[in-house]
């Protein structure tokens, strides 16, 4: 088992090195198969580990070597596999494999497909380090590594400058979050004298709730999570990150990397539970992000942007769940979300593929009959994310909604409202792209064609997962056994034990109500969207409040005005005034001064020997006098 967990890291590394180093020599078909094969082996290994962890009820600790060791600091390079990481292993490798296979078809005609697969394998490697690391520093390596892969893949088509800017934006915004994470790690170390996650949880569980240090640490960690998981105010990079190839958006910016923040908080559950203030901040930030993301998504016209804001909104939803203390609920929704959001992105990629790169939904329409498989898969994804039973999204959202209602009626209603936004934007997308009569002014370069099988099969598997994954855990109304909760109980036992929330259990009637009323509203919304979006010939230009939403609440403009412009101005000032005038001026003045003085002084070199002699004698005499005087 120890060996297997090490091999998990070795295979993607090998894949990355092989494809990366021989990208010029390697056959274009081979790289995709190789990369997918590596991840397939990883998936098989992960399944072994998953079975082992589930049946043996113990945590696997693998210490590879002592990494940093001096004085009283000792940080081993160690992996921990408990049920939480085993679950993440399955998600990362499972979804990763499907998206690798899909990419073989999607990236077939790209000239640098080898580079693409090298980056993808690199990403998987770092994601696994992030998930498996047994101390915060290991986690941080993975954290930075996935950020790097994300940067490389967003800017994959680097010839277009807009993509580079998007990549830089993602990298820099993540850097802000990473700074918080790093400060959190420093504080953790100075407080606990260790970075091991389990040891810290052990020590922290004895500390009083609301401890100031803990609060500061958790706030810093949350800043890190905000950056990586695209929460307000650091969320604007995620929609821009859609500049990368669609499989990347599916894998990194929907299913795995952006959930790293949730994973981090769930991992350090004990610390967060002991800081009620941080939990409340997480709840508020998550709620606002979920709301804002959902509202913006309704008025976007780029198919990938819609899904991106949807991801932002769902991530906010996940943070709400964390803020409510429902760690296993968050992990459950994270899992199902990985499935159906990856599916949606891949389906969107398939649509884009069919239309030869067109992403504007206003130019689409009537695709239902032209690409029927993609349509069917998109429907599955849409139903799943909207939370319509019996698809996966329903079950996982239900857990979070229940937690919200247990927290308070207002919170519950708010959560329901936010989750209903999903229905609106997803069905808008579906209806406009597939039902609306085809737009006349759009002529794709090639005839509209269904994607090849290599792209459809992975989507089909994701679709099946999106349908059945929810049955792992039925709502409390229907079933006493909470499969997913029970699975993660050993991981969160300590954190849950420390929670002091006075949860009032809901009566059966309320539970039925909060189950049925959303269903009813969803039905209404679907019906409304159908009328609204299918029959209207063109989407009307946005006005008033709609315009605010369509312009993403002007977040980008505000950041541009408040941060980017001043920094640009400052840079210009430093470059032109400080550097050019002051520093350059000083350096030039030294040079010019030396030249000037030299020009004058060299006149002393008359070349006349007699003159030199006179000077020499006088100088000797002068030195003599000096010696006498002094």
């Amino acid at each position: 088992m120890q060996l297997i967990s090490i091999l998990l890291l070795v295979f993607p590394l090998l894949g990355f090195l092989t494809i990366g180093l021989f990208q010029r020599q390697m056959n274009r078909q081979l790289s995709g198969i190789l990369a997918s094969g590596v991840i397939f082996i990883n998936l098989v290994l992960s399944s072994f580990l998953f079975r082992y962890i589930t049946t043996s009820h113990q945590v696997l600790e693998v210490s590879l070597f002592d990494w940093i060791k001096f004085a009283d600091i000792s940080i081993p390079f160690a992996l921990t596999i408990d049920r939480l990481s085993a679950l993440m292993l399955m998600i990362v490798n499972g979804v990763g494999l499907l998206i690798h296979v899909y990419s073989i078809g999607y990236m077939k005609y790209d000239e640098s497909v080898n580079r693409f697969f090298a980056y993808l394998n690199l990403f998987i490697l770092f994601m696994l380090i992030l998930v498996l690391g047994s101390d915060y520093l290991m986690l941080f390596i993975g954290w930075e590594g996935v950020g790097l892969s994300s940067y490389l893949l967003i800017g994959f088509w680097y010839k277009d400058h807009a993509n580079n800017n998007a990549a830089k934006k993602a990298f820099i915004m993540n850097r802000i979050g990473d700074l918080g994470f790093l400060l959190g790690i420093f504080l953790l170390f100075s407080t606990f004298k260790t970075l091991s996650i389990s040891e810290i949880a052990e020590i922290a569980s004895l500390m009083p709730s609301g401890n100031i240090t803990l609060t500061i640490i958790t706030l810093f960690l949350f800043v890190g999570a905000m950056g990586k998981s695209a929460q307000i105010p650091l969320f604007t990079w995620l929609p821009d990150a859609m500049a990368g190839p669609t499989p990347v958006s599916a894998l990194i910016h929907a299913a795995t990397m952006v959930t790293a923040g949730i994973y981090l908080i769930a991992r350090s559950g004990v610390l967060f539970v002991l800081s009620p203030l941080t939990m409340n901040i997480i709840l508020v930030v998550g709620a606002v992000t979920a709301l804002v993301g959902g509202l913006i998504a309704i008025y976007q016209n780029d198919i990938k942007k819609i899904l991106a804001y949807s991801t932002v909104s769902q991530l906010g939803f996940l943070f709400m769940a964390l803020g409510l203390g429902s760690f296993s609920g968050a992990m459950f929704h994270l899992t199902t979300h990985a499935f159906f959001k990856a599916l949606l992105f891949l389906a969107a990629g398939s649509v884009i593929h069919a239309l030869s790169g067109e992403q504007d939904i206003r130019k689409m329409g009537g695709l239902r009959s032209k690409i029927p498989f993609t349509f069917a898969l998109m429907v599955v994804g849409t139903i799943a994310i909207s939370g319509i039973p019996p698809f996966a999204g329903f079950f996982s959202k239900e857990v979070i909604l229940t937690a919200a209602y247990e927290h308070g009626m207002a919170m519950g209603v708010f959560a329901t409202f936010v989750s209903l936004l999903t229905t609106i934007y997803m069905f808008r997308l579906l209806f406009v792209v597939f039902f609306k009569p085809a737009s006349k002014d759009f002529k794709p370069a090639h005839s509209v064609h269904e994607s090849p099988k290599v792209m459809l099969y992975p989507m089909a598997i994701l679709a099946i997962l999106s349908i059945v994954a929810g049955f792992v855990q039925l709502p409390k109304l229907f079933s006493e056994t909470q499969g997913f909760d029970n699975f993660l109980t050993p991981v969160f036992a300590k954190a849950n034990g420390l929670q002091t929330v006075s949860e009032h259990a809901l009566s059966v009637q309320t539970e039925w109500l909060i189950l049925l009323i959303p269903m009813f509203i969803i039905a209404l919304l679907v019906f409304y969207s159908y009328n609204r979006f299918v029959n209207s010939k063109e989407l009307t230009p946005a006005t008033g409040i709609q315009k605010v939403l369509a312009d993403k609440f002007y977040f980008d403009d505000i950041y541009d005005f408040l941060i980017v412009k001043p920094i640009g101005f400052l840079s210009d000032f430093f470059r032109q005034t400080v550097d050019q005038s002051i520093i350059n001026g000083f350096v030039n003045a030294v040079g010019n001064g030396t030249l000037f003085v030299g020009k004058r002084l060299r006149l002393l070199q008359t070349g006349n020997v007699g003159f030199y002699l006179v000077i020499m004698v006088f100088c000797v005499i002068a030195i003599l006098f000096f010696n006498i005087i002094l």
Partner: protein, 109 residues
């Protein structure tokens, strides 16, 4: 030896110092005033020898032979210097047909 030292000490030390200073000054003035390189050389020798004489005098008055050893060294160095200097002068003369130092003014700014 004792005898010669005693004879030397017959003349007071101040006389030696004055004489050597005069000799040295003549050398300095010769160096400054003359244009003929050969004469300048001779003036330099004059200065060296005035210093030698003074060293010998001090050596005698202080009963310390170190000064006399210095004199020998200086004489050796002066001989070497003259050899090189005269060789230089020969070369200079061959190129300019003169040993006037005021004509050697090509090496300037």
């Amino acid at each position: 030896m004792e005898n010669s030292i005693a004879q030397l000490q017959v003349i007071p030390l101040q006389y030696y110092i004055l004489f050597c200073s005069a000799l040295f000054s003549i050398g300095v003035i010769g160096v400054l005033a003359k244009r003929n390189a050969l004469v300048i050389f001779m003036s330099v020798e004059l200065m060296l020898n005035s210093a030698n004489l003074l060293l010998a005098a001090f050596s005698a008055y202080r009963n310390d032979p170190a000064g006399q050893i210095f004199v020998f060294f200086i004489m050796v160095v002066a001989a070497a210097e003259v050899a090189i200097g005269l060789a230089l002068l020969v070369v200079v003369y061959r190129s300019t047909h003169s040993i006037d130092i005021y004509k050697l003014d090509r090496l300037k700014w």
